[in-house]
Structures are given as C-alpha cells and as structure tokens.
C-alpha cells in the first residue's frame, strides 16, 4: 500500500496551514468600533407602566402607512364574528403590536416594533443596500426598489421585526420606519401621536433618555407630569409613578436602540431578547472586515495558489498526443 509517512506529514502540515490561514483573524480580532447615536436621532420611549392596552397605536399605524398595504388581521372571534383587527404579533400586516404578558399575578403590556438599533443588523446584512440608516434622524429605512427578497435581514434582526408578504406572488419586505414619511409634513410617528396616556412617547433619543432616567429616579407613588405624544408637545398627564424595574431597555442593549422600554418588571420577561451590549453587526463585521481588509488576504492567497498550480500542472501544459 502506498501510504507513506512523508505524504501523511505533508497532508497534515497542509491542513494545518489551511487552518492557520483562516483561524488567525477569527481568533485575534474582536468587534469593529460601535456606531454612535446621531445627535438629532429620534425615537420612542415606551413606558409599559402607562400602557392601558387600547391598541390605538396598532390601528393608527396601519392607517398612517397606506403605501405598505397593511391589511387588518382577524384572529380572535368576538361574538362569533371576526370583525376586529386583532393581530397576535408582528407580521407583514402589522408593524407594531401591543402584547400582554402575565407575571406573578400581575400583567404588563409591551409594544413590539422595529427598535431602530443604533447599529442595525439588517443594514449590515442586506447585500443590496436596501436598508439604510438615516444619518440625521437615525431612522432605519427600507427601499424595496432594489430588494431581491433573500430575507437575510429577517434572519439577522434580533427582534424579528421585519415582515415578508408570504402570500403574494410578488412580495416585499415590510417594517416600521418610524413614520419618516410624515416628518416632512410636520407630523411624527402615528403610534405616539395617538397614544392617549403617553406610554409611547416620541422625541429626540437624547431627550427620551433623560426622561427615562428621571422616571427611574421617581419614588413609587410620587406624583409626576408624564409627557404625552411628543416629548416637546407640552401635553402632560399628571399621575403617580409606578414601581419601575431599574433598567432602560435599549440604553446599551444590542449596541443601543432608538426605541427604549421602561417597565415594572424586567423587559426580558416581556418577550424582549437578552442582548449583549456589543451589537451583532459589530461582531460579524469585526470578523468579516478583518479577513477581507483591503482584500489583501485573498489576493496573497490567490498569488500563492497560482504559483502552486502552475508548478504542479507542468506535465499537463506540455502538448501531448494522448487525446488521439
């Protein structure tokens, strides 16, 4: 049998080289530098302790986004009929939804929607740049004109907040864009402008963060003037503060979010994922950009391979008559 030690060692050394070539960047390089929040970025502060579950935001959201052709979803029979729009989760027809979570005899409402990450995975993942982050408002926008429907954005999104029109032959992706089409009209996110209690509050993220920390500093039961609709609207709702869980979800989670959540219990118990402070996009790009920095590694490897292949096909290049 023709297995000799030399060949084995060569093979082993070769595989080792192959491994080393690939391993060094993956092992040695950490995440790329985190993205910064644009100073005038806008967002939403959702305060679960103020939400009464009226679903005005869900209804107004569909009304405010006619261009996305969001249809009502009849999931719950009421009096034997399915007539009310009762979405049970985010989908191609629902960009925001209010969910009820029960815990320890109490309950909390939570608003699910695109969280407008400061360092969004969808923007990093989309191969055709259909997703962009507005440099001024920080709103993550989607342009369907170039979308090829690969659905990598859905896979990458930590909140599963991107919908796909599964039942259409010519589908598209659908997601919350914080009503950026209303901004030129002097309006803002429909869910916030119609929220009666101020649970969903629109405003500059910097202002919302300050507002959120003020609320965390409140004593339980302390009377407080909660801003309603827009943080600069001047409208206030005067009521005692609830007991807060001492964490602003979205302050650091996932590299920071422009949609933040305050709640009476840990937001992780309200269906929000437990995200590390480094965004997934930064981790992925850290590895990716190291391997492909200046495209140097592939070019060097190609050079070596051309040389080896040239050397090892010497026989093959010689004109021979064996094909006759």
């Amino acid at each position: 049998m023709g297995i000799n030690r030399r060949d084995f060692l060569k093979g082993a050394a070769g595989s080792g080289l192959l491994l080393a070539a690939d391993a060094s960047p993956a092992l040695a390089f950490g995440p790329r530098t985190p993205k910064e929040l644009p100073p005038d970025a806008v967002g939403i502060l959702f305060d679960s302790t103020l939400c009464i579950g009226c679903n005005a935001c869900v209804f107004r959201c569909k009304q405010a986004n006619p261009h996305m052709a969001l249809r009502p979803e009849f999931n719950v029979p009421i009096g034997g009929l399915k007539i009310h729009d009762t979405p049970i989760g985010l989908s191609e027809n629902t960009l925001t939804v209010i969910k009820l979570y029960k815990h320890d005899g109490g309950h909390s409402f939570i608003k699910h929607q695109c969280m407008h990450c400061i360092d969004p995975a969808c923007v990093s993942a989309c191969p055709v740049t259909a997703f962009t982050k507005d440099p001024k408002t920080g709103i993550v926008k989607f342009c369907k004109r170039v979308c090829i429907g690969c659905r990598y954005c859905q896979l990458a999104c930590p909140f599963v907040a991107i919908g796909f029109k599964w039942d259409e032959p010519f589908p598209e992706m659908v997601r919350c864009q914080l009503c950026d089409h209303l901004i030129p009209l002097g309006k803002y996110a429909a869910c916030c402008s119609y929220c009666p209690t101020g649970a969903a509050l629109y405003g500059r993220v910097a202002d919302l963060r300050k507002e959120a920390s003020r609320r965390l500093d409140l004593e339980y039961g302390e009377p407080y003037r909660f801003p309603v609709n827009h943080i600069e609207s001047g409208r206030k709702s005067f009521r005692p503060a609830a007991k807060y869980y001492p964490n602003i979800y979205g302050d650091t989670e996932g590299g920071g979010l422009q949609v933040m959540v305050l709640a009476g219990v840990s937001p992780l118990r309200l269906g929000l994922p437990d995200l590390p402070d480094v965004s997934n996009a930064a981790v992925s790009e850290g590895v990716f950009k190291t391997i492909y920095k200046w495209f140097a590694a592939p070019i060097v490897l190609l050079g070596a391979l051309v040389y080896l292949a040239y050397r090892n096909t010497e026989e093959y290049r010689k004109p021979k008559d064996e094909d006759d």
Binding site: D22, G149, V160, W166, E172, M173, I291, L302, Y316
Partner: protein, 380 residues
C-alpha cells in the same frame, strides 16, 4: 495525467425514469409557488425565514459539492510528485461539484422572494460591502463559472476540439487557482453569515469560529461525497474502486476530522458552553448525533485495513457526509430559535422541492458519466 473515459451504456434506465417522475412532481409545486407566493406551499415564516431551502440547497448542497475543491487541494497543492495517484478521481469530483453548486445557485430562483430583481445583486452600485451574503453570492456565482471551466476539458475531449484543448491546458492553472481560492472564501463566509444572528442561534453552534469550521467541514463533506460517490459508482458500473487513491485521501481526512473535533470541542470549552451538551433537550441530542457521525469515520479510518476496504470506506464517507450535513442543518435549523413564539417544521412542498433538485442531480450525473470522459480509465 491519467486518462478518463465515458462509462457508456443506456441513458434511459429505471432510476432515470424514477427521478424524472420526482422532477415532474416538483414542477407542480413550482407552479403553485410562482402563482400564489412562497407562503402557499412552505411553512416559512418571519421567524424561520429561511426554512430548509437555503440550509439544504445552498449550505449542504454546495458543501457536498466541495469534492472538486477538496480533491483539487490534494492534487494541486499537496500533489507534487503524487498527482498521478489522486488525479483520476479529480474529474469525477469536479462533476459532483458542478451539480452541487449549479443546482444550489439555480435554487435561488425558487427561494428568492423577489427573484425578478436578481440582477440588482450584480450591480456594483447596489453592493453593501459589510454584507457577508454579498461576498457569498458573488463568490459563488464566479465559482460556478470556474467549475464549468474546470470541467471543460472533458467536454472538449468529447467534442475532439484538440486545438482549443491544447490552448486551454496552457492557461488551466489560472482556473485551478481560482477554483481553490473561491470556495475557501465563500465556504468560510457561509459560516460567518450566521454570526450576525447572535442569540437566535444556540451557543452550542454560535461561535466566531463558524467560518473556519465551515471551510474544514466543507472539505470533509466534499471528500466524503467523492469517497462514497465513487465507491457507489464503481459498484454499480463494475469499475475498479481506486482504493489506493481513496486510502491516501482518507489519511488526510483523519487529520482534518481530528482538527475539526479539537476546534469544535475546544471552542465549546473556551466559551464555557460545554455543559449544554448534557442539557437533555433537542439541541444537545442533535449535537451528540452530529459529533458521533464525525467520530465514527475517524475510528474506522484509524485502521489501515479499513482504509483499503471499499465497504468500510463507503461507510466512513457516508458518515462524514451525514455528519457535516447534520452540523449545517443544526446551526441553521435545529439550533435556531428566533423567539419562543415561532415554530417551524418543513411543509411537504418544501421537502419536495429539495428532493426535486436532488433527483435532477441523481438523474443527470449518471448521464454525464456515461457520455463524457469523466471516470478513470480502467486497465482491463
């Protein structure tokens, strides 16, 4: 170089008819998909947005199709002075790659939601340079072209285009070099694509080493496909088993399986997640099976007597193939949980489409073997 010859024989056989019937059934589902949308015949949803098509047809299909890549590494990189030994099976390996990759690429026409805009992917001003998928897509498209070029000599020989063949042989090394570079790039990127999903993938699989593991695993799966595929072919068509080549290949495989297992378990220990193996849930069960399928071939190939036995080699090759397949299935489907409320089990239509692509390969590969000079020339 060792010469190749067509196997000859009838084209329309019973298996050919069987696979054609499966392809016809697939067509019915395809009509449904294009008229009523993806949701009509799949269980894909916003959580499990990739279902099983990309995992099976792209991730697993192209990894099986890495036979050409694996054999080319052995022939052109470590083959100095020994290429006469590996060479005969190279063309067969490239044929399997040709199908693995071409079908994987073609499956995108079915899988892409907005397939009619596919050209947007090719336009440089659309490219998002942070997207791992962009690298995978472009690199794979290029490699499909390279594979057809690598396979071209077989076609040129058949057509007796001697002049063209001679010119082609002169520049062949450039094709070979690209054929080695591109799979290294996109197979590692395929693994890297899952890094961005973060917590949605179980820590048993989620690691920054995914790109490295994916390349190693692709070489192992490709080789497994060549070993099992060739022994199967040789058995059916009464050809020599070429065990002397396969035994040399399997020695290299042992090194690779060992390296893979060390990386896999070392990484789990390094990240402190090794305890999840004993969690007793579906993930831990899947993990154990997946790794047993990697350990069995290592044990089989450890004995020199097994390395020249066609049966044992076939078992080892099949295990390697299924182990790699399961690993990919696990890190894309089993270990993937977008959020607790999402559930997924593939619909009949999804499975049929996958089977349709497999049936196409199973019907077409024998035809290619019979018509084109691919199989190594037998001496008797």
């Amino acid at each position: 170089m060792a010469a190749s010859e067509p196997l000859g024989g009838k084209i329309i056989t019973k298996p050919f008819i069987f696979f054609s019937v499966i392809m016809f059934i697939t067509l019915i589902f395809l009509v449904e998909r294009y008229i009523f949308g993806l949701g009509s015949m799949t269980n894909m949803n916003d959580g499990f947005t990739w279902g099983i098509w990309k995992p099976w047809l792209i991730y697993i299909g192209t990894a099986i199709g890495c036979g050409g890549y694996a054999m080319a590494i052995m022939v052109y990189i470590f083959g100095k002075g020994t290429k006469a030994h590996y060479y005969p099976l190279l063309r067969f390996a490239i044929l399997t790659s040709l199908f693995g990759y071409t079908l994987g690429g073609t499956s995108l026409i079915v899988d892409l939601g907005r397939y009619w805009l596919f050209y947007e992917f090719m336009l440089p001003w659309n490219w998002n340079l942070t997207s791992v998928l962009l690298e995978v897509g472009l690199c794979m498209a290029l490699y499909i072209g390279i594979l057809w070029l690598e396979f071209a000599p077989a076609v040129l020989e058949k057509l007796k285009k001697k002049k063209l063949l001679r010119v082609f042989k002169k520049v062949f090394f450039v094709v070979v070099a690209f054929g080695l570079l591109l799979p290294t790039m996109h197979q590692s990127s395929l693994g890297l694509m899952m890094v961005i999903v973060g917590h949605k993938l179980s820590p048993l699989w989620q690691t920054n080493l995914l790109p490295l593991l994916s390349v190693v695993s692709a070489v192992m799966m490709g080789t497994g496909a060549v070993i099992a595929g060739w022994i199967g072919t040789a058995h059916i068509y009464k050809r020599p088993y070429e065990t002397n080549i396969l035994s040399r290949v399997s020695v290299v495989m042992m090194g690779l399986i060992g390296a893979y297992l060390v990386l896999r378990f070392g990484d789990l220990i390094w990240r402190g997640q090794i305890g999840l193996i004993f969690a007793g849930d579906v993930n831990s069960f899947a993990f154990i099976i997946e790794n047993i399928l990697h350990i069995i071939p290592l044990l089989i190939l450890a004995s020199p007597a097994n390395r020249i036995s066609p049966q044992k080699l076939f078992i080892a090759g099949t295990c390697l193939l299924s182990g790699g397949t399961l690993w990919r299935h696990n890190y894309l489907v089993t270990g993937f949980c977008p959020a607790p409320q999402w559930v997924f089990f593939p619909a009949v239509g999804e499975v049929v489409i996958v089977l349709g692509f497999v049936a196409f390969a199973m019907a077409a590969i024998p035809v290619m073997l019979k018509v084109l000079p691919v199989a190594p020339k037998s001496d008797h």
